[in-house]
């Protein structure tokens, strides 16, 4: 990201922020989608995050760290969206059609790894998903994930470890994927 654009936006330049939005929207939405596994929620979370980024931008100390900082706001927006929509998402899932994927329970015998993963991923908290996505989708280092999420590296490590353990368990030979709980951020 062009730091001069960030600095201009920090000073209230809406045109500069429009350029930033243009440059970051698709990437932020892609991250949000991979965390939330729902296109509508991802779109909303992206827009909420961009407004939050604009609002808090003057407080960003180092414009050079804009990208990592923006991921933190995005993840928070995803968590908020997940909380806000948890009831409706639960209702959808109770109908047998997970928001995250096309696999119906009665077709479990035919699902492949991808579908298993989809369902297993839906069992993770938003915080755990965020760590997995930042690490394995954006390919950030653990240190960069920590910076992006505003938590210590040790916390990232433990979240990632727990998330991968859950995925591993859910992907076991029995295909023991449990019904997805409500999509909700961890307390």
């Amino acid at each position: 990201m062009d730091t001069q654009l960030v600095i201009r936006a920090q000073r209230g330049d809406e045109a500069a922020f429009a350029a930033i939005s243009e440059a970051t929207y698709v990437r932020l939405r892609a991250v949000a989608y991979r965390i939330l596994r729902d296109p509508g929620l991802a779109e909303d979370a992206t827009q909420i995050a961009l407004v939050g980024i604009w609002r808090k931008l003057p407080r960003l100390r180092d414009p050079g760290r804009f990208e990592a900082w923006s991921y933190r706001i995005l993840v928070n927006a995803c968590a908020d969206e997940a909380r806000r929509r948890s009831r409706s998402v639960t209702a959808i899932r109770l109908d047998g059609e997970p928001a995250a994927g096309p696999v119906a329970p009665d077709r479990m015998g035919a699902i492949d790894d991808r579908d298993l993963l989809e369902r297993a991923f839906s069992c993770l908290s938003v915080e755990q998903r965020a760590v997995v996505v930042l690490r394995h989708y954006l390919d950030l280092t653990l240190e960069d994930v920590a910076t992006a999420l505003g938590v210590p590296v040790g916390t990232v490590n433990s979240r990632l470890s727990r998330a991968m353990s859950k995925l591993r368990a859910a992907m076991g030979p029995e295909g023991a994927v449990q019904p997805a709980p409500p999509l909700e951020a961890a307390p």
């Binding site: 209230g12 809406e14 922020f17 429009a18 939005s21 243009e22 929207y25 698709v26 939405r29 892609a30 989608y33 991979r34 296109p39 991802a42 779109e43 992206t46 827009q47 961009l50 407004v51 604009w54 609002r55 808090k56 931008l57 003057p58 407080r59 960003l60 100390r61 180092d62 760290r65 990592a68 900082w69 790894d113 991808r114 993963l117 989809e118 997995v132 996505v133 394995h136 989708y137 920590a146 910076t147 505003g150 938590v151 210590p152 991968m164 995925l167 591993r168 992907m171």
Partner: protein, 273 residues
């Protein structure tokens, strides 16, 4: 197995998402109607920071001994307390003097209100590596604050001269935001009204843990002119919603009464470097 799973997760996350056209155009109107947060702490401008000299620290200690108090004594060498308020720089105080016929609430009385500040002149940054001492400080910013209070005796314009010292680490490593700084701040607040004014000292701390309350300071005032013999003690919360280009709007609550204000603390010996 772990590596296989990581690879599987990696590949799965990188599959095309097939999302519809992004609604980027929706963002601009939302942004247009959203006010940016501007913190009350001045931005760090590294280029202007100069190392504070031992001489300055000694001078600071001497001046602070006349001004500070035990609240500030524990933070180590302290920069000079701001000098007299530059009356020429601030616009004239516009405190409404109670008219002779105005019926004022009997004392003691609880007061509350808001204020809105403008920076009259910036302070200056300095930085020190002295062990045990708050490493960075900002000295002598002058603000003019218009206060709308529930009692006219404490409503009007105060000229604040304030300084701060703080640490700039730990939380900021993770948070990367200005408000993560932990600071103490102190200063003078004067309502320079020849008829009825106030001379105040203030001190406070930032509150970086609460996004909606960035700081709290205590003001202790002695009345001047027609306010002589009165004391005014208040706390001022610095609130998130106050931020804008113009300055701060903070909530004030306090007490106005006859008598002396509580002592702000005896002058304490200042450790020299």
């Amino acid at each position: 197995v772990s590596r296989d799973l990581e690879r599987l997760v990696h590949d799965w996350l990188h599959e095309p998402d097939g999302l519809p056209e992004p609604r980027i155009a929706d963002v601009a109107p939302l942004v247009h109607h959203t006010t940016q947060q501007r913190g009350w702490l001045p931005p760090i401008t590294r280029g202007r920071i100069t190392m504070i000299s031992a001489f300055k620290l000694a001078a600071a200690s001497a001046i602070l001994a006349l001004f500070g108090g035990y609240i500030l004594a524990s933070i180590g060498p302290i920069p000079p307390a701001p000098g007299p308020v530059p009356a020429a720089e601030a616009s004239p105080a516009s405190s409404p003097t109670p008219a002779a016929t105005e019926v004022l609430p009997p004392l003691p009385v609880a007061v509350e209100g808001t204020f809105h500040c403008m920076v009259v002149s910036d302070g200056s940054w300095s930085e020190t590596n002295a062990p045990g001492v708050l490493p960075y400080r900002y000295e002598g910013q002058v603000r003019e604050c218009r206060e709308r209070m529930s009692d006219p005796r404490v409503s009007g314009t105060f000229v604040e001269t304030y300084s701060l010292a703080g640490i700039d680490e730990a939380a900021s490593e993770f948070q990367n935001e200005r408000e993560d700084r932990h600071v103490v701040f102190w200063g003078t607040e004067v309502m320079d009204d020849p008829v009825a004014g106030w001379d105040c000292s203030s001190a406070g701390t930032s509150d970086p843990t609460d996004l909606r309350n960035f700081g709290l300071l205590l003001r202790v005032c002695t009345g001047t002119g027609a306010n002589a013999g009165l004391a005014y003690v208040a706390h001022k919360a610095i609130l998130e919603e106050s931020y804008g280009d113009f300055g701060d709007r903070r909530a004030i609550k306090g007490i106005l009464y006859e008598g002396d204000p509580p002592p702000f603390g005896p002058p304490a010996p200042i450790a020299s470097e």
